[in-house]
């Protein structure tokens, strides 16, 4: 089954390796990985998509939590969520053949963001299947697809904010440490 792990991790050197190494050790291929800053200073948000059994998924989640630099983990593949992917697609197109591509872009509600004499670049945001669809149609057309750059899956649970980060950051046994973390967070807010 497909798993989508959302992990909040400390924004430090080597953390990506630690996370990736967990999947490597289990010989699991990562379909997509996105990393960027989160709503909390000093914490990055990673979204890792991979194929693994339910048991392996549970183990990955438990093992991710064991990493010192990981603050929160969620597996949201099965949860109601908002999911997007961004793709930039460069297509070989001359002034003579452009119009066909423009038509496709229109149908898929994508945008052309760069135009050159021999090529154009399409920006497309949507769910994975929609991006796959555009790429497929482009590949079937006369114009050659020159480059594809995809962001990988970006995803968030629907509705109420459920990130356990705040709770996780302040869940130590040491009262003063809890306070200082909460103060720190309050300052950020």
């Amino acid at each position: 089954m497909l798993h989508t792990f959302v992990a909040y991790v400390e924004d430090r050197p080597g953390v990506l390796t630690r996370v990736a190494s967990l999947f490597r050790r289990l010989n699991i291929n990562i379909h997509s990985l996105t990393v960027g800053r989160s709503e909390r200073a000093g914490l990055s948000r990673m979204t890792v998509v991979c194929e693994a059994s339910a048991e392996a998924g549970h183990r990955i989640q438990a093992s991710l939590y064991k990493l010192e630099n990981v603050v929160d983990v969620d597996d949201i593949a099965q949860a109601p969520s908002v999911t997007r992917e961004l793709a930039l697609i460069k297509v070989a197109a001359t002034p003579r053949t452009r119009s066909q591509v423009f038509e496709l872009v229109e149908v898929f509600r994508a945008r052309v963001v760069d135009l050159a004499p021999e090529s154009l670049t399409i920006e497309m945001t949507g769910v994975e299947s929609k991006i796959e669809g555009l790429i497929q149609v482009l590949n079937e057309g006369e114009e050659r697809v020159l480059e594809i750059c995809r962001s990988g899956k970006l995803t968030m649970r629907r509705g109420h904010h459920t990130s356990g980060v705040l709770k996780a950051m302040s869940a130590g046994e040491d009262e003063s440490a809890v306070e200082s973390v909460e103060e720190g967070v309050a300052e950020l807010e």
Partner: protein, 586 residues
């Protein structure tokens, strides 16, 4: 060593120190008294500062030995062991020892020097990416390149090493960070409180369910592992066993967690466990797994493992629950705390029928193999283990290596107390025993320490004899010498048509080798000589080595071939023949 008052002061009042001094000041404040290491260029500033601090440094002969010594120290004392090494080869030599500690969840902190931060990543002389190399075999590691980060990193390392499921932590410090100065403030360097694993939880309903299962079980067995010792839950396990009249089977690393002489003790489970232990597990209708992880050496084939039994798993590491064996109730938390919450719900239970049934299974196989060894005039390793147990009253710390002797020790040396058997279970690291015993001796200088090693494993780290000599410590060494890599030979005998490829081994005269180190020794080749030799070793003022020349092609029985069901074991040939020799006439 320097002035004690001075040191106390450095650990309390914030003071400007060099990074090297901060390393030691932090260790002193963490309560460290002994470290094991080997100097070199990138760690020299740290060594240079050692004389100012009240820490005893043991110079090892190979860094693998340093890691095993820290490991043996931790296993014997329950405290964090510390190893020190330089960059490059010094650091890579630690790796086997670190992995050994990782697989057995042992809290050690390894401190390595590295090249200056300016040349990190440039393939400088003796530079290696040790944080990268040890990433999968440490619980966590740190690369420190700023002096002010040294104390917080070392303090975090100690906290991580000993919290929840313990494990090794490595702190790699660049040379320039050791040389520069910073304000050392031990209090300010305190790490954030441990963040509890969110999946580590014990629900009331789980406790009630577990109590219900125990109440209704007809054939329950407790499986006690290393976690019992790590968590200090020996009393709680004993109370559970006695109150509910549940027999206790132990893993290799669990030996000592429950007294061997206790009426409810079954003995060791798994590949070389006694037949009645494995049969009891296969017959059970409830397994109460306490601080163990269903290792493949314990389960045999997973698909046929205890299929009639409900399973309760009490374990601190959420990643271990439902990893190998699907359980009915998972109670994820510190074993002692979980049992403390569970025990009030456990009432007296009549377990007599089941205990009787196990006693029948046990039958005369209880007075078994050792009495049935053919009287060939040869010495059997089982004799040696039995006599060592008898003569030390089961009170010594026994440090075993890996192989046949390790299993014989587990079968014939009966451990009453926790932390009296130190052995590499998970990684199965040959060469572990001698250095680990040195660490154990430093942790418990008043205790009698015996190394039991095979002729193969002993030679892997025999250089540490020189460390024993230099430190003038009293360790007794029993080399179980059969001229083969015995366990591998046994597998070749059983599964590779006796093709003894690369297992016959020519060894030096171990007594002469000991003598070359100024260590006394004796060779023993008959049963009659065992007692006097052991006596001599025990009464000798210094370290002593006994070279036990044992039966060459003896095998460890019973044996469950890897991947077979737990009840499909290879029994000792002719195991039920009447004995000629009694146990007690030595």
């Amino acid at each position: 060593m320097g002035n004690d008052a001075n040191k106390q002061a450095t650990s309390i009042i914030p003071t400007r120190l060099t990074g090297a001094e901060i390393v030691w000041a932090t260790l002193v404040a963490e309560g460290v008294t002994d470290v094991f290491g080997y100097p070199g260029g990138a760690i020299l500033p740290v060594y240079d500062a050692l004389r100012k601090f009240p820490i005893h440094h043991t110079l090892v002969r190979h860094e693998q030995g340093a890691a095993h010594m820290a490991d043996g120290y931790a296993r014997a004392s329950g405290k964090v062991g510390v190893a020190l090494a330089t960059s490059g080869p010094g650091a890579t030599n630690l790796v086997t020892g670190i992995a050994t500690a990782m697989l057995d969840s042992i809290p050690i902190v390894c401190i390595t020097g590295n090249v200056s931060s300016k040349v990190l990543g440039s393939d400088a002389f003796q530079e290696v990416d040790i944080t990268g190399i040890t990433l999968p075999v440490t619980k966590h590691n740190f690369l420190v390149s700023r002096t002010e980060d040294i104390a917080p990193a070392i303090r975090s390392a100690f906290q991580i090493a000993k919290s929840a499921r313990p494990g090794p932590v490595l702190v790699d410090i660049t040379k320039d960070a050791q040389q520069a100065t910073a304000i050392f403030d031990f209090e300010a360097a305190k790490p954030r409180a441990v963040r509890p694993h969110p999946m580590r939880k014990v629900e009331e309903s789980g406790l009630a369910q577990a109590a219900e299962l125990i109440r209704n079980a007809k054939r329950p067995v407790i499986l006690a592992g290393h976690g019992v010792i790590e968590s200090g839950a020996e009393e709680q396990v004993r109370t559970l066993a006695e109150r509910a009249q549940v027999p206790v089977a132990l893993t290799l690393l669990g030996l000592g967690a429950f007294p061997a002489s206790h009426a409810l003790n079954l003995g060791m489970m798994g590949m070389h466990g006694e037949s009645w232990v494995n049969h009891a597990i296969q017959d059970a209708d409830l397994l109460i797994a306490c601080g163990m992880r269903f290792d493949d050496r314990v389960t045999g084939s997973v698909s046929t493992y205890a299929i009639k039994a409900k399973k309760i798993h009490i374990e601190v590491d959420p990643a271990e629950v439902n990893k190998i064996i699907k359980v009915d109730v998972g109670l994820i938390g510190d074993l002692r705390e979980v049992l403390e919450s569970l025990l009030p719900q456990i009432s007296g239970r009549d377990g007599l029928e089941w205990l009787k049934k196990i006693a029948t299974m046990k039958g005369d196989s209880a007075v078994r193999d050792i009495k049935n060894l053919p009287d060939s005039g040869h010495l059997y390793a089982a004799h040696v283990m039995h006599d060592l147990w008898r003569m030390t009253g089961g009170n010594a710390i026994v440090v075993t290596d890996v192989g046949q002797h390790q299993m014989w020790e587990a079968q014939y040396y009966h451990h009453e107390q926790p932390r009296t058997l130190i052995t590499s279970g998970g990684l199965g690291t040959m060469g572990f025993a001698l250095p680990a015993a040195i660490g154990a001796k430093f942790a418990c200088p008043e205790k009698e320490v015996w190394v039991i090693a095979g002729d193969g494993g002993f030679q892997m780290t025999a250089a540490e004899l020189a460390t024993i000599a230099q430190e003038k410590i009293k360790i007794n060494i029993a080399v179980i010498n059969n001229g083969y890599l015995g366990m591998v030979r046994q597998w070749q005998e059983f599964f590779y048509e006796r093709n003894y490829e690369a297992t016959p081994m020519v060894s030096p005269d171990f007594v002469k080798l000991a003598d070359a180190h100024g260590i006394a020794g004796l060779t023993v080749s008959t049963r009659a000589e065992v007692e006097s030799a052991v006596k001599e070793a025990r009464s000798a003022p210094g370290a002593f080595l006994i070279n036990f020349k044992v039966e060459k092609e003896d095998s460890v029985y019973p044996m469950i071939p890897a991947g077979s069901a737990l009840h499909e074991m290879i029994r000792r040939p002719g195991g039920k023949d009447p004995l000629e020799e009694s146990l007690d006439d030595k």
